[in-house]
Symmetry: C2
Subunit: 196 residues, 2 copies
């Protein structure tokens, strides 16, 4: 008996994610969302409940996308290959709403104003870091990374390097590509444990 929604909810979340990613939490008003999603206030609230709730969906979708891209990369190029290519990939694609990581932007913006959302973003960052650690372990098992390193330590540093890269990529006048290449090079050097 009922009537079907005139929109594809999943596609709307994608569009909302891109808008939030580019403009941040406070920088995105409901008017912006209504315009971008083609929804009137009533439909918006019927579909998502609140700005908070939609932001959380967007955050989850963002994280899911990042995880998928990295796993695909590993499936095609192996663990080390993925870790080498990922930095270049995240700052690539001019089509993307922003270079900086949406999760990092969210933690920085909302840590002192919306703890639940900041905590969720932080949790996503942690599971990405766990995925990095898994890949480093895979690379060690494959003999591409020296066993003398601790995979969790490598992952922590890799995550930090990526975050720095992506902040740098957001800046004007910084050659982020060069930084991405340096991070990739370092991955290749991990085969041999040289010092300390």
């Amino acid at each position: 008996m009922p009537r079907k929604p005139a929109y594809d909810k999943n596609a709307l979340i994608d569009r909302a994610r891109d808008l939030f990613w580019k403009q941040g939490w406070a920088g995105t008003s409901l008017k912006d969302l209504e315009r971008t999603l083609g929804l009137n206030p009533g439909s918006f609230y019927a579909a998502f409940g609140s700005k908070d709730a939609l932001f959380q969906l967007a955050l989850d979708k963002y994280a899911e996308g990042g995880t998928k891209r990295l796993k695909d990369l590993a499936a095609e190029h192996g663990a080390l290959g993925a870790l080498q290519r990922y930095p270049g990939l995240v700052i690539d694609e001019a089509s993307k709403p922003a270079k900086a990581c949406m999760l990092a932007k969210t933690v920085l913006e909302l840590k002192n104003q919306n703890e639940p959302l900041a905590a969720r973003a932080n949790a996503h960052l942690s599971s990405m870091e766990n995925l990095f650690a898994d890949l480093f372990r895979d690379a060690q098992a494959a003999g591409n990374v020296s066993d003398a390193y601790d995979a969790d330590t490598l992952a922590r540093r890799y995550q930090s390097d990526l975050l720095g890269l992506r902040v740098s990529a957001e800046r004007v006048g910084v050659d982020a590509r060069a930084i991405a290449d340096e991070i990739a090079e370092r991955m290749a050097e991990l085969a041999y444990h040289t010092d300390d």
Copy 2:
């Protein structure tokens, strides 16, 4: 004939900087500022003109403070010593409003909503990077860093590493101290140009 202001404008800018640093641009309302500065709307606007103008003053003061701290460090411990100590210093001091860099937070938050302020923050980041490069050159002149490296390249990477460190330090459950130590260690390794 006139009456003197009841406040020390310079001290107010310090307090405003700390509030903006912690809460960001949109997260800091005029009510927040009035409360923190102990100023009524009229006095606020007589003193600073606008939220924008005060934020700019805060940004400049923040950058000036960072520059001074690094130069002091270099005067006491030499160029390489300063570069080694700075990462630990910026994530230290529990008294600080935030671990993350206020300039980076500003670029990320305001790039698409307040270009002038974002550009100013970015310019401050660039001059910090120039200062890093100068220190690397000093360290090379002192024989502490191999001449095989390009100082500007080292500075670009150092800046990116610092930004990543400071985003990481803002996260919950990340051992930022360990990352800072790794960055410092890498400085010591620059004395010898090993490969590539």
